[in-house]
Every structure is written in structure tokens, then in C-alpha cells.
């Protein structure tokens, strides 16, 4: 594992603010209870570990906990999850995801007899906390002024992009990062809520238009002009690019080349582009596809 300095991670967090949310969700999802053992997913390699380091500061001890396959690993993991979800999981989306996974865990633990009462207790407390946060979210979304927060989210993300905060990313990844930020933010909350469909569509349309506009500005080409895909995927030659490439590879790590060929191509930088990735793209095509793959194509929880 290459050593990563704190400033590097800070750049990643600044450019991709949803990174820590994703990290906590992944961490939560990595806690499994099967046959008296925990299995922490293989996320413990690469960028995930770097993020873990950056949170704990005392990586060695924590690493043992995360990697540990002792029964009490679950307990320590849950403790840590409790801390993390307070400190690092800012977004409602992350809370919802964690809550869902905790419910599954509760269900699993109930079936396995060997867990200590302490662990169960810990799980229940944590789950209760999360459920409360989720409930307040529902109220929040239902409030009239939530729409304003969605608008603010949109404006914030695109003004950030317009101001060059994504300059170290490839053009395709700029769009990806922006849409991810929307997805983890109020925009995503609104989209996942049971608000009326036409309102959702309108916001989606606005987001798409803004993304296409900014892409076409960055590429210095009309939004319907078809450009070589490699141009959209090219990583700029800047000192910060490398760490961000890693961060994005982590973010898009679950993308499938068949179902999300655009995210896969942008974040995983495969040597051979997948069959479903066009070799020529306009800003319009790229922007629509990325938005669709993130917002339209994902299983929302």
C-alpha cells in the first residue's frame, strides 16, 4: 500500500465531498454476520484503506479491527461505525443506506444465537439513532423550502464546476463528480423522495442542461458536436490528478461496464473501452448518459 499524505486525501475530500459518506456506507456494508464470523469486504485495500487511515490517524490499531475476523470484530466495527456516522456521514443518503444495512444486520443477528447481548444492544442503539435521523429527513423533504435547498444544491455544484474546482479531473469525471455530488445531496434526497414525478423530471432536466452546458464549455465545442471519447476521458496533466484518479476509481468501483459504461469508462480508465461505450460523444450524449447512469440507472435505497 502506497503511503498517502494527509494533504492528498484533503484534496480528494475537498473536490469530492461525498467521498467520506461513501466511505462510511461502504464500511457499514462491509460488516457482515455469518456463522459467528464477521467478514469485512475486500474494500480494505487501496483507496478505502487510505480513507480509513485518514479518519483514524492510528491506522495500525484500527486496521486490525477492520480486518479482524474475531467475533468481537463486529462489536468494535459497530462502535466505530457509530463514531464515523456522527463525524463523517453528513448526507441523508448515507444515513439511509447505513440504516438499511443495520436493519439487515439486526435481522441476521437475531437468527444467530451466539452474539453477546452487548453486541445486540449496540446494534439496537445505533439502529435507533439512524432511524431517527431518517425520520427527520422525511419531514425535511416534505417541507416547502426543501425545493429551495434542491435549487441551492444545483447552483452550488455547478458554480463549483464553473469556477474550475474540478480542473484536475478529466472532462467526463468532472461531470461524474458533479452528478455524484448532486446525488448525495439535497437533489438526490428529493429525487428519492415521493415528490411528484413531474417535479423530479424538471430538476433532472435542469441538471442535465447545466451539465451539458458546462461540458461543452470545458471542451470548447458545441453541445451536439461529436468528439473522440478519449478526449473526454483524458486526465489532465497536473500534480493532483493522480490522487483524484484513485479517489474516482474508488467512487465508481461498483460500476458495471455493461450497465454503466460511461461511469465505468470515466472512473476505471480501462485500456479497452467497453462495447457499450461510444467512441465518439457529444457533450449532450455524455452528460445525459452520466446523469442517467447515476440517477436513473442505480438501485435507490
Amino acid at each position: 500500500m502506497s503511503h498517502v499524505s494527509q494533504p492528498d486525501i484533503d484534496i480528494s475530500k475537498e473536490t469530492l465531498p461525498f467521498l467520506m459518506d461513501k466511505f462510511v456506507v461502504d464500511f457499514a456494508n462491509g460488516i457482515h454476520v455469518t456463522n459467528d464470523h464477521i467478514r469485512v469486504q475486500k474494500k480494505c485495500t487501496g483507496f478505502f484503506s487510505r480513507l480509513a487511515d485518514s479518519v483514524t490517524g492510528t491506522s495500525a490499531i484500527r486496521q486490525a479491527d477492520i480486518n479482524g475476523n474475531l467475533a468481537n470484530g463486529v462489536e468494535s466495527s459497530l462502535k466505530w461505525l457509530g463514531e464515523l456516522s456522527e463525524s463523517s456521514a453528513q448526507s441523508n443518503y448515507a444515513i439511509t443506506c447505513i440504516n438499511n444495512h443495520l436493519n439487515t444486520l439486526k435481522h441476521d443477528v437475531a437468527r444467530v444465537a451466539h452474539y453477546s447481548a452487548d453486541t445486540r444492544q449496540l446494534l439496537n442503539v445505533l439502529s435507533k439513532k439512524m432511524t431517527e435521523r431518517c425520520d427527520s429527513l422525511e419531514h425535511e423533504v416534505a417541507r416547502i423550502d426543501f425545493v429551495q435547498r434542491v435549487q441551492l444544491n444545483l447552483e452550488h455544484v455547478f458554480s463549483k464546476w464553473g469556477a474550475g474546482k474540478y480542473q484536475h479531473l478529466s472532462l467526463a469525471n468532472r461531470c461524474y463528480a458533479a452528478v455524484e455530488e448532486l446525488y448525495w445531496g439535497a437533489f438526490g434526497d428529493f429525487y428519492r423522495s415521493n415528490a411528484c414525478l413531474s417535479n423530479k423530471q424538471s430538476f433532472l432536466e435542469i441538471a442535465k442542461n447545466k451539465a451539458v452546458e458546462q461540458l461543452s464549455k470545458d471542451a470548447n465545442a458545441a453541445c451536439m458536436t461529436r468528439i473522440e471519447t478519449q478526449y473526454w476521458l483524458a486526465v489532465p496533466n497536473s500534480p493532483n490528478a493522480a490522487i483524484l484518479v484513485d479517489a474516482l476509481a474508488y467512487m465508481g468501483g461498483e460500476a458495471s461496464d455493461e450497465i454503466q459504461p460511461f461511469i465505468y469508462s470515466a472512473t476505471q480508465q480501462p485500456k479497452l473501452l467497453p462495447l457499450r461505450m461510444p467512441r465518439l460523444c457529444s457533450a449532450e450524449r455524455l452528460g445525459s448518459a452520466i446523469l442517467n447512469e447515476i440517477i436513473g440507472g442505480r438501485v435507490h435505497v
Binding site: R226, L275, R276, P278, R279, L280, S282, R285, A289
Partner: protein
């Protein structure tokens, strides 16, 4: 030349390949997914069935192969005297071809650029025929007399002697040769072998090499392509033997095919020899070889280095060569003054510097240094940076760079564009078909049996209406045909009457100085009087016939226009019916787009000036027989029936039998009218008829396709619920592929439309 830059073609090609692969993959998935594609059933027309779908896939695979194997083939023709080998060595940057003063190219040879292949290799898979020849020659040489004879004759010829010794020592011809030196000797030996077998009266097995896959292939990295760092697909040179060299009758067909397929044909001629007798022969050979090459033939005028140009600029040189030296047989822009020797030196130097970062001790290096730096050349040999930049400069000056950049790559781009267009058009066609098919199956699942039955009924009704329209239109055409005939009859009667009257009046009044007697004879003592009278009469008849024909034409034009406008009105109705069906289906979420093909018949009336042309071309006095002539029979008759009536009379009387003349006039005008009718039938009515058949047949087919697809939808409804769910899931998944790719295929199709590649 197209405006596209060559760099833009690569992404198009890559995208076309992707779309083909995607379409193939999805069609294959359609075949393997359960319940998507049914077995073919006799009498039922389905868009996709188990017999048609593999064929579609085959078509797309064929397109893929075409795109992947697209080679830029540069065929080089010319003779050793003109510098053909040097030209090839110059492009390659290594001396792969022997260069000497005897015919060298025994067999056509492919020289293929392969990135990173520094050491050239030659492969001759089909070496058996040559080894057999070795054996035959060896046996032949066992004869003492032959041996002595050949040895004495070849004594001065070192190469030949070494070949003979090789054959005697039972050495064999290999399949692989490595390195420029070995390849060089192999090719030399091959060409000596052709000469030797000719001397011995043994046939060289040329016929074994009449297929492009049998000929020798040299693979090596071309020096300047390495540097350009661009991918031009496969780049291959084809070295061709001259048409007069031995064995060409076996190779001609293959070579002609290859020359036509190549991206460009380069004919090398020698500037210094131009105008000489030898040059005339060379050019005759080149003409023979390249007569079918057309637009992609370029003439390289070799040995045009600085010494020869004397300060005239490029355009002037091209013009001078094309107009003065080549006597305007080729356009100036197709002439390229080059210096193969300079290009070779430059490219070879570049290659050496690239590989070894220094120049070797070699005779060509001296030439290069002298060329590059003048007399003090040697002093600069170690200044590698300087050598490099000077080599580039010389390469540019040699004219090769221009040739590559301005001509060869754009020509290749054009060839590629056509292949990409064809690939995209096929891919798009099948994508659209499959999209409709999958969508209609999917929509059918969500419809009730009654709704589907109604839709099938709708199609049936539509089809019936269309068949009704087809009959109406058929009738229109038939009526028009019979009207044409009727008009012809009545016009003909008038015309004949008119002709008869006019001639009668003329003859009665003696307008030509002669009158008809009671027997209907025109007589005179002077031959020239009869002659003149008949000439005048003929002119008159011509004029009247013209007028009558033109009346007929006017009538025909009216009839044809009427039938076309009636037809248009009926086709509008057909379009209405089809439009209604399309609309009703689209409203029910089906995706159909049945189209009425536009007619492509050119409505151009046949010309009536047939008679005029023949008469005006005819010499008045000769009455030549012309098989197609309108008045031929008339003239023939005059020839045979006028002349001396009787020798016993004291005076000669010249007669013309006007009864017969009248008969001929009538049958001739009838012939002319009928020919016009046939012309009208052939040029307008029958193409119209067959086009209409085409329109209706394709329309009926489309209706049947949709109907069968819906029928399949009804069958789907009989399936178990969970099977239906699986089917729905599969259909949606398959369909999504095409929905996603739709903007891409439309995008590239419209990109390509804008390029307008030259065919």
C-alpha cells in the same frame, strides 16, 4: 479530395466497429435468450427467425472483417530502369528489394508495414512448387551437355552460377527468410530462377502463384511510418512485375484485381529517360498495366532531384511533365516529381539513427553524407542530431512526403470512408429492425388478446385496401398502354393520308419538274432529273414525317403525364392508408414505420428525331443501307428499281416506280410510329410497371412482417405468467442495448452523410 482530415477517420472506424460488434452481440443474445426468436415457418414472414437471424449476423460479420482488414495498398508499377525497386526501398527505409539492371520482380510481392518489426522477414508459404522446380532443374543439369552449355553461358554471371551450385547441392527454398540480406538473396535467387528455367526450357510454376495469398510477403516496420506514430490501418506495398515479364499470363487476373482494389497505383517513370525510345516502351507497359486504374493512378517522375529542376517550381514541373513530356495523357495534379534515390538515402539514414543512434560504415552512407553535407560530408557523420534533421529535410525534398500526405493517405481515407458508410448503414438497418421487433413483442405482452386481434385485423384491412389500390393503379397503367396504342392508330391513319396527299399534289403539279405517268412511273431521259426529283421528294417526306411524329409525341406526352398524375393521386391514397396504420400502431406504443418507397423512374420521353438524324447523315447520292434507318427500305427500293429500263431503245429512259415508293413510305412511317410506341413502352411504361410492383411487394411484405410479429405476441400470451415475466425481462434488457445506442448510430450516420466520400 474530401475535406476530412485523415486523423478523424480512426474514431469513425472504431465507432463503426463497436456498433457492428454491439449489433452482432445483441442479435446473438436474441438467438440464445429463451423465447425471443422462433423457428422459421414456411409461409410465415417474420422479421427475425432462426433461419434469417444467423444470416443477418453473417452480413454484419462480413462488414466487420472488411473494416478490420482494410489495408492501404500501394501498388507500384514500373521497371527496374525507372527505379521501381528504389522507390519501394525508399518507402520502406531498408534495402529489401534487390536493385540491379535486369528484371527483378519474378513474382508480385507484398511488403507490409508492421510496427516494431525491425528485422524484415519474408514468408513464402507456398515454397513447394519452387522446390519441385529445383528438382526438375537438378535432373536436367545431370545431363552433361546441358550442364556444360549452361555453365559456359553463365560463366560471367556470378549470381546464376551460385544458383546453379545451390541447385546442384540439393539446397531447398525456405518458407521464411530473416533479415534484409537473406531476403535480398532470396528474391535475387527467385528472379535468377525464372531466367534459368527459361534458358532450360522448363516452365516456371507461375500458375501456382496466381492467388494473392500465395505470393511472397515481406513484413517490416516502415521507417517513416514509425516516426509518424499514426495508425493508418495496415499499410502495404505491392511490387508488381512488368506486364512483359515472364509468366504474366498466369498472374494478370490477380494483378488487375489487386490494382483495382488498391488505394493508389504508383507508376514510376524515369525523368532522364523521358522521350527516349526505351521510355516509350516502358510507358506502353505501364499503360497496359494501369489502363483500368482510373482516378487512383499517380505518376511518379523519378530522378527529379535538385540538379534536374533548375529552379522551376513544383507546379511548373508537374505541368511540364504532364503536358509536354507525357503529352497530356495524365492530369498535372497526378504527377509527382520524386527522387527515389534521395528518399531512400534519407529514410535509410533515419532508420539507422533510430535503431543504432549512429550511421554504419556502408557505401550508401557516403552517398547520403555527400547528399546531405556536400564534400565535407564525413565530418558530420557523428553529429546525430544534425544527421536526423538533414535526413528529414532530404525526405521532404525527395517529394515523397508530399506524395504520402497529399495523395496516398487521403485516397485511402476515401476507401475507408466507403467501407465505414456501408458498415453503418447495415448496422443501422438491423438495429432499427431489431428495435421494432423487440419493442412490438414487449408491447404485445402488455396488450390483451382482443387488442392484438384488433391490430392484426387493422393490418389485414389496410392490406386489403392497399391491394385494392394496387389494382386501380395496374388498371391505370393498362389503360394508358391501350390509349397509347389507339392514339398511334388514329395518328398513323392521318399521317399516311397526309403523306399521300402531299406527294400526290407534288407529283401531279410536277413540282420537281417531273410528273407521274398512268402506271405511276416517274420517268426522264436524264438520270440526274429523276435523282433530283427523288431527293426533293425525300426531303418533303422527311419533313412531313417529322411533323406527324411530333404530333404523335405530343399526344403520348399528354397520355404519359396523365397516367403519372393519376398514379400520384392513387399513391397519395396508399400513403394515407399506410400513414393511418402507422399512426394507429404508434398510438398503441408499437414501433412501426412502414414506408412507401418513392418511385425512381425517370420520365423522359423518347426522342422523335430518329428520322431526321438518319436522313441528315446520309449522303444524297449513295443511299447507304443503315440497319436502323427510317428510310432505308425506301432508298433500297429506289436503288434497285430505277435504272436502265431497256437496252434496245435508242435512248435510255430512267424510271422510278412511284407505287412501290408509296408502299415503302407507308410501311416506313408505320415502322417509325411503332418504334416510337415501343420506345415509350420500354422507357416509361414497363419501368413504371415494375417499379410499382416493387413498391407494392415491399409494402405487402412489411405488413406481413408486422402481422407475423403480432401473431407471435398472441402466442406469447398463452405462456405461463412466470415465463411471460422472464420473456419481458429479456426483451427489455435486449431492447435497452439498442435504445442506448440509437443516438450513436444516428450521430455517426449523420457525420458520414456530411462527408460525401467520392466513389
Amino acid at each position: 479530395m474530401i475535406a476530412m482530415h485523415k486523423n478523424n477517420i480512426e474514431p469513425w472506424r472504431a465507432e463503426a466497429q463497436r456498433l457492428l460488434r454491439l449489433t452482432i452481440e445483441v442479435l446473438e443474445n436474441m438467438m440464445s435468450a429463451k423465447g425471443i426468436i422462433a423457428d422459421a415457418q414456411p409461409g410465415s414472414l417474420r422479421t427475425f427467425d432462426r433461419s434469417s437471424t444467423p444470416k443477418y449476423i453473417e452480413v454484419l460479420r462480413g462488414e466487420l472483417v472488411k473494416l478490420e482488414n482494410m489495408e492501404l495498398v500501394l501498388a507500384v508499377v514500373g521497371t527496374m530502369k525507372a527505379g521501381k525497386s528504389t522507390t519501394i526501398n525508399a518507402i520502406v527505409g531498408t534495402e529489401v528489394l534487390p536493385n540491379r539492371n535486369s528484371p527483378m520482380t519474378a513474382l508480385p510481392t507484398l511488403i507490409r508495414h508492421k510496427p516494431k518489426q525491425i528485422t524484415p522477414t519474408l514468408k513464402l508459404k507456398n515454397n513447394q512448387p519452387i522446390n519441385n522446380l529445383f528438382k526438375v532443374i537438378s535432373t536436367c543439369l545431370e545431363n552433361k551437355l546441358v550442364n556444360e552449355c549452361i555453365s559456359t553461358e553463365s560463366n560471367a554471371d556470378k549470381d546464376m552460377m551460385s544458383l546453379i551450385n545451390n541447385i546442384k547441392s540439393n539446397s531447398i527454398f525456405k518458407q521464411d527468410y530473416q533479415g534484409a540480406g537473406d531476403i535480398f538473396s532470396c528474391l535475387k535467387e527467385l528472379s535468377d530462377l525464372v531466367r534459368l528455367s527459361k534458358k532450360l526450357g522448363i516452365d516456371f510454376p507461375f500458375s501456382e502463384y496466381s492467388n494473392i495469398n500465395q505470393i511472397p510477403v515481406i513484413t517490416v516496420e516502415f521507417a517513416h511510418l514509425r516516426e509518424a506514430g499514426k495508425t493508418y490501418g495496415q499499410f502495404t506495398l505491392l511490387d508488381t512485375p512488368g506486364p512483359n515479364e515472364a509468366g504474366q499470363e498466369y498472374l494478370r487476373d490477380m494483378l488487375n484485381e489487386q490494382l483495382q482494389k488498391s488505394s493508389a497505383v504508383l507508376a514510376v517513370i524515369d525523368y532522364e529517360q523521358m522521350g527516349s525510345e526505351a521510355d516509350e516502351e516502358v510507358r506502353k507497359q505501364i499503360r497496359l498495366r494501369t489502363k483500368d486504374c482510373g482516378e487512383h493512378l499517380f505518376t511518379l517522375v523519378n530522378k527529379m532531384d535538385r540538379k534536374n529542376r533548375n529552379g522551376i517550381d513544383e507546379t511548373e514541373v508537374k505541368k511540364y511533365v504532364a503536358e509536354t513530356l507525357l503529352k497530356k495523357s495524365i492530369k498535372a495534379e497526378k504527377v509527382f516529381p520524386i527522387s527515389a534515390e534521395l528518399a531512400y538515402l534519407a529514410n535509410r539514414a533515419k532508420s539507422e539513427v533510430f535503431m543504432h543512434n549512429k550511421l554504419p560504415e556502408d557505401s550508401w552512407v557516403k552517398d547520403f553524407l555527400r547528399e546531405a553535407f556536400g564534400r565535407e560530408g564525413k565530418d558530420h557523420a557523428n553529429n546525430i542530431a544534425k544527421v536526423k534533421s538533414t535526413a528529414n529535410q532530404i525526405w521532404n525534398e525527395s517529394g515523397f512526403n508530399d506524395l504520402m500526405e497529399k495523395v496516398i493517405f487521403p485516397a485511402h481515407t476515401n476507401v475507408e470512408l466507403l467501407a465505414i458508410k456501408s458498415a453503418i448503414s447495415q448496422s443501422r438497418d438491423y438495429m432499427n429492425k431489431a428495435t421494432s421487433y423487440l419493442n412490438n413483442r414487449l408491447v404485445s405482452l402488455s396488450k390483451s388478446q382482443t387488442e392484438l386481434d384488433e391490430k392484426i385485423d387493422e393490418l389485414r384491412h389496410g392490406l386489403k385496401k392497399i391491394e385494392g389500390q394496387e389494382q386501380v393503379i395496374d388498371k391505370l397503367i393498362k389503360n394508358a398502354s391501350s390509349t397509347l396504342y389507339k392514339e398511334l392508330e388514329s395518328t398513323l391513319i392521318d399521317a399516311k393520308k397526309n403523306l399521300k396527299n402531299s406527294t400526290e399534289i407534288l407529283l401531279k403539279t410536277g413540282a420537281y419538274g417531273l410528273t407521274k405517268d398512268k402506271k405511276g412511273m416517274l420517268r426522264s431521259l436524264r438520270r440526274d432529273e429523276v435523282d433530283t426529283a427523288l431527293d426533293e421528294l425525300q426531303k418533303r417526306i422527311n419533313k412531313i414525317t417529322e411533323e406527324e411524329l411530333s404530333k404523335l409525341k405530343d399526344k403520348f406526352v399528354r397520355i404519359v403525364h396523365k397516367v403519372i398524375s393519376d398514379f400520384d393521386a392513387e399513391i397519395v391514397k396508399v400513403k394515407g392508408i399506410v400513414g393511418d396504420v402507422n399512426k394507429s400502431f404508434v398510438e398503441s406504443d408499437f414501433s412501426i414505420n412502414i414506408k412507401v418507397i418513392d418511385l425512381s423512374v425517370d420520365i423522359v420521353m423518347a426522342n422523335t428525331s430518329l428520322a431526321e438524324k438518319i436522313v441528315s447523315e446520309k449522303e444524297k447520292k449513295t443511299y447507304q443501307v443503315d440497319a436502323d434507318g427510317f428510310f432505308n427500305a425506301f432508298l433500297r427500293l429506289l436503288n434497285s428499281d430505277w435504272g436502265k429500263e431497256s437496252k434496245s431503245h435508242e435512248t435510255e429512259v430512267f424510271l422510278a416506280d412511284m407505287n412501290k415508293v408509296e408502299g415503302v413510305i407507308n410501311s416506313d412511317i408505320e415502322g417509325a410510329f411503332k418504334r416510337y410506341l415501343v420506345e415509350t413502352e420500354n422507357k416509361i411504361m414497363s419501368p413504371l410497371s415494375s417499379e410499382i410492383d416493387l413498391v407494392f411487394n415491399s409494402l405487402k411484405k412489411e405488413f406481413n412482417y408486422v402481422s407475423s410479429d403480432l401473431q407471435q405476441g398472441i402466442n406469447d400470451k398463452a405462456l405461463e405468467k412466470n415465463v411471460q415475466n422472464d420473456l419481458r425481462f429479456n426483451l427489455e434488457k435486449l431492447l435497452q442495448n439498442f435504445v442506448d445506442a440509437k443516438p450513436d448510430i444516428e450521430g455517426i450516420a449523420s457525420d458520414l452523410d456530411k462527408t460525401g466520400a467520392i466513389v
